[in-house]
């Protein structure tokens, strides 16, 4: 059957189950690309899930949990799609890969820190993901395009949520301003990695989006908000990165250990 007969339109519900049942397997190269996108979203969902019942206001428990849930939805879709290339399920990929096999960019695994650091991370990743998913709606691969179309609408809200909190914290009190500046200083060194091209992406042509092509819009959007916040772009240290090649900061291991512990204690079980 041709790929077009499996096409799922943007407006339809497009779940992880739909993908694993109805979509044609991607090439291994495209699967690796989808896995990067899925890993970014999964690790972020895992980080944000920690905030449930710990947020500064009940409304923020709801908001952060909602963002986590959206990210988890994107992760499930991308990982289900990627898994088809190796006859693996989303859970095989999430629970039974080791740290060095995860290909998320390092910014996603950075600790929650205080609320300000979480917001700084959200500010960076939501602006990155917004540009990325908007561009990927035109992907030559219809599955990537459909998942991205749904995700683009959702991360637009995440970006708005982060922008509003950036303003509140930067212009609120002396303490909140100090904290958001510190939070952004911790997160910003990991921005560069998000926009580095590599052979995998270059080889995929119109199915993928070269990260470097997203940088100018990212800079424009974030600078605009930072200007309103009366904040500067942090200068100096740039993290070496390597997340796309499975090189991670020391924060990913414990996150995965916690996430995977129960599934690994019962190999072969279904839940």
């Amino acid at each position: 059957m041709s790929e077009t007969s499996f096409q799922v339109s943007i407006g339809e519900a497009f779940t992880a189950e739909d993908i694993s049942e109805t979509v044609e397997a991607p090439s291994k190269q495209l699967a690796k690309y989808a896995m990067r996108l899925g890993d970014d979203a999964l690790i972020l969902a895992q980080r944000l899930g920690w905030w449930v019942a710990r947020a500064p206001e009940l409304e923020e428990d709801v908001a952060l949990c909602n963002i986590a849930l959206d990210q988890l939805g994107h992760a499930r879709a991308f990982l289900s799609f990627a898994g088809l290339a190796w006859a693996k399920t989303e859970d095989d990929l999430a629970y039974f890969r080791n740290e060095s096999e995860f290909t998320n960019a390092q910014v996603f695994e950075q600790p929650n820190g205080d609320f300000a650091q979480t917001i700084a991370r959200q500010f960076v990743v939501s602006n990155y993901q917004c540009g990325l998913y908007i561009a990927l709606q035109a992907s030559a691969n219809s599955t990537i395009a459909a998942i991205s179309a749904k995700a683009a609408k959702e991360v637009d809200y995440h970006r708005d949520h982060a922008r509003q909190w950036m303003l509140r914290l930067a212009l609120g009190t002396d303490e909140s301003r100090k904290r958001i500046i510190e939070g952004l200083n911790v997160i910003w060194p990991f921005v560069d990695e998000l926009f580095r091209d590599d052979e995998l992406v270059e080889g995929l042509g119109a199915s993928a989006v070269p990260p470097s092509s997203l940088r100018a819009d990212f800079d424009k959007a974030t600078l605009e908000v930072l200007a309103r916040c009366e904040m500067e772009v942090p200068q100096g240290f740039v993290a070496r990165g390597g997340g796309r090649q499975g090189i991670h900061t020391e924060f990913l291991g414990p996150l995965l250990a916690e996430m995977q512990v129960l599934a690994r204690a019962h190999p072969g079980a279904t839940w």
Binding site: A55, P56, E57, L167, G172, E258, A263, H266, A269
Partner: protein, 322 residues
Amino acid sequence: MAKNTPSFALSEQEALARFDEIIAADERIEPSDWMPDAYRKTLIRQISQHAHSEIIGMQPEGNWITRAPSLKRKAILMAKVQDEAGHGLYLYSAAQTLGIGRDQMTEDLISGKAKYSSIFNYHTPTWADIGSIGWLVDGAAICNQVPLCRASYGPYGRAMVRICKEESFHQRQGFEILLHLSRGSKAQHDMAQESVNRWYAPALMMFGPPDAQSPNSAQSMAWKIKRFSNDDLRQRFVDMIVPQSEVLGLTLPDRAIRWNEKRGHFDYGDLDWDEFNEVLKGRGPANSIRLERRKQAHDDGAWVREAAAAYAARENKEAMAS
């Protein structure tokens, strides 16, 4: 007296007569209606306790969000815990219509003055506990809460309609978790049985003490805030879960359970009310942990709330100036 005379134009005696008429006619009391102080106080106590229970209840379940054993289960659990936060929000709003502020309710919760459902003072050491909470705890909550959709106070009754719809999903997902475990590997089946053994009695005690020892019940029933007695609701729950446990292939840890032809109900054994009272008095397995966590989240978030308030004030000032 004319039915459309506004409350403020009535003498207290006339207002009470109208209140009694509304209750007798099974109609709703609304926030702007006159109501006896004791009715208002009872509702504030009950609704805020219910809200606090939703909020504290996020903790034992939230304990498994980061470790849920499949991505689908993780998504369902996150959505469920998010629902609980939403329920807390509607209920706090319903309580606010009675003239108490959310800050005050939060203060009462973290100072230990206000109560919440004792069931959340138990630990969730295993994944199967997420199943048991859904099946037994949410199941018991539904038995308690469906009649509250007809509670005489309008905002409470209406909040409960939506809450009950979501709770019935929660119960089904709990049942489904246990069904999967029960039919899974031996280790999974054992995990489910061990968890049900722990949650059964505390779930039955969620309906409160036996009718003879329930001090607030009679007045609440007269006011039609409460519609059925503790023991009636408990019986309804037992009658529901016994056949469900058979479908699950799990046993309930109560040898006295048997069908009573004459009563048309399942008999069940005595409950350990001493344990219930201990937990109620703050000496349950997790009372201090739950409150400490709530307090810490509240304290850690103080600077964020201050920043939000300062920013809002600044924006307002700028809007006024322009």
